[in-house]
């Protein structure tokens, strides 16, 4: 597993970044994600013995992570806009990052595509790409911040998610909006973030139809959350009161992950 990488953005090598995904994933030989090669590392080093039992420490940390979800929800200001940047700040090429290499990005057929809508909404009719493209669109130049620490400024064009939620008659008193993606990825977000003015159903990147690697035909862009909370290749949107977690969230990444 490649553990060393030099020189993240600016000037990222997209191929190197593809390899990075491996680093996001737990060591396949261990399910207990808190235990590295040196067990609890510094703690064991401090006490001279491994006094902290992995599972109970893990449970305590997960509890604190849930507390952090609530703290971040409290801190989240629905009217606070993410800073925007001039066209010249857009990073080209924009880094590709996923848990699969670029050439394994899912291929979604333009003609067959239908966005499914479900859960607490008035109208569950699916949407073709042409119907989606006909919605009013906006452009944002914002910073994408990855959970790994690097960031990059990009330019995304699409429909505010709140506009779409209005059109499908979503019950905005529901707690969550959940996204299912073509490659089996999923994530879910809190309703206030879904209704944030900069949360966008994105159809274009840097003025071009969203390329496959950046999430064709549609991704959801939210500059108020870490990159992994911005799902690509979105096939289904559901409004729900049920906590459904997500691909990375279920493995220990903080659910709210707000910026």
């Amino acid at each position: 597993m490649p553990r060393v990488r030099r020189g993240p953005p600016p000037g990222v090598d997209p191929e190197l970044l593809a390899k990075d995904a491996a680093k996001l994933m737990p060591d396949p030989t261990r399910r207990l994600f808190l235990r590295g090669g040196a067990s609890l590392g510094a703690l064991a080093f401090l006490t001279g013995c491994d006094i902290v039992d992995g599972t109970s420490a893990e449970q305590a940390l997960i509890k604190i992570s849930h507390f952090n979800d609530r703290a971040q929800a409290w801190l989240f200001n629905p009217n606070k806009l993410a800073p925007t940047y001039p066209e010249s700040a857009v990073q080209r090429p924009f880094p590709f990052n996923a848990y699969y290499p670029e050439d394994e990005a899912p291929e979604v057929d333009r003609e067959d595509y239908k966005l499914e809508v479900g859960g607490m909404v008035d109208n569950t009719k699916s949407w073709t790409l042409d119907e989606l493209y006909a919605l009013p669109q906006e452009t944002q130049i914002t910073r994408l911040v990855c959970v790994e620490g690097w960031s990059a400024i990009g330019k995304w064009t699409g429909t505010p998610l709140r506009e779409f939620l209005r059109r499908i008659g979503a019950d905005t008193r529901a707690k969550y909006v959940w996204f299912r993606c073509a490659e089996g990825y999923s994530t879910s977000i809190d309703m206030p973030t879904a209704l944030h003015p900069q949360t966008q159903m994105t159809f274009k990147f840097d003025g071009e139809i969203l390329p496959r690697k950046y999430g064709f035909p549609m991704k959801v862009r939210m500059p108020t959350k870490l990159g992994f909370k911005n799902p690509k290749h979105v096939m289904e949107i559901a409004v729900t009161d049920k906590y459904l977690g997500g691909y990375w969230e279920d493995q220990g990444y903080n659910w709210f992950s707000g910026l």
Binding site: R3, V4, R5, R6, G7, P8, D20, K23, L24, M25, P26, D27, R30, L32, F33, L34, R35, G36, G37, A38, L40, G41, A42, L43, F45, L46, A60, L61, I62, I64, S65, N68, L75, F76, N77, K80, A82, P83, R143, V145, C146, V147, E148, G149, W150, S151, P223, T224, W248, Q251, G252, Y253, N254, G258, L259
Partner: protein, 229 residues
């Protein structure tokens, strides 16, 4: 102070008037039995050791987080890191950060309102720092009065308190670059704030190395930080 202890030692029943002087003193400073004077009150000792533990957890998990996207051409060896992988390290880091912030706030507020910082950490005169540093390197520095910090100690302690404040603020800036984007901007933006956070950590680690060596060289100071005397 000396007088009070003498009175206690005398166990005199007849000097109630003089004894009442003791009552006006902070009870934490009054030993139950004859002993060395208290150098570090309980709040200093508790916050110090909570801080030491929290810092170690934050540093070790922070190194694992750093490894996911290194700022420089090196990564930290796995055995000094905490968390096993990025998600585990983030869980540790975002748990310990609360403890550091709350504990640090208590320490700094009490340090200011009790006058401890004013009494012990200032003023720092460059001439004294140089003289004491020279004395330290030539082995001539005396550590017999633990209640008074020499100029080098003052500089180090004040310096690490400032580094602690910078590490917390820059950490907040990179944790919440949207909600607190004014703070992130004050650090020169998200990417620069990452470097600030890193260098503040490096300063704290540098301090820690010298600090731990010094407390091993002067074990009475370590005892004082544990028992108070």
């Amino acid at each position: 102070m000396g007088i009070c202890y003498t009175l206690r030692d005398g166990k005199s029943q007849g000097r109630t008037e003089l004894m009442s002087i003791e009552v006006t003193h902070d009870p934490a400073l009054m030993p139950a039995e004859p002993a060395r004077p208290v150098i570090h009150p309980r709040w200093v000792r508790v916050t110090h050791w909570v801080n030491a533990l929290t810092m170690v957890v934050l540093i070790a998990s922070g190194w694992q987080i750093y490894n996911a996207s290194p700022l420089f051409a090196f990564v930290f060896p796995r055995w000094v890191t905490l968390g096993g992988w990025l998600a585990g390290a983030l869980l540790w880091h975002f748990a310990a950060m609360w403890l550091l912030a709350v504990n640090g706030l208590i320490y700094v507020v009490l340090g200011i309102v009790t006058g401890r910082f004013r009494r012990k950490l200032i003023p720092i005169r460059p001439g004294e720092v140089l003289a004491d540093a020279r004395a330290a390197f030539t082995g001539k520095l005396k550590y017999d009065d633990l209640s008074v910090y020499n100029a080098v100690q003052k500089l180090f302690y004040l310096g690490v308190i400032v580094a602690g404040i910078v590490v917390v603020l820059s950490g907040l800036a990179i944790w919440k670059p949207v909600q607190l984007h004014e703070l992130a901007a004050a650090f020169g933006g998200y990417d620069t704030a990452r470097y600030v956070h890193f260098f503040a950590m490096a300063a704290i680690v540098g301090f820690l190395v010298v600090h731990v060596i010094m407390s091993a060289i002067v074990p009475t100071s370590l005892r004082a930080m544990i028992t108070g005397r």
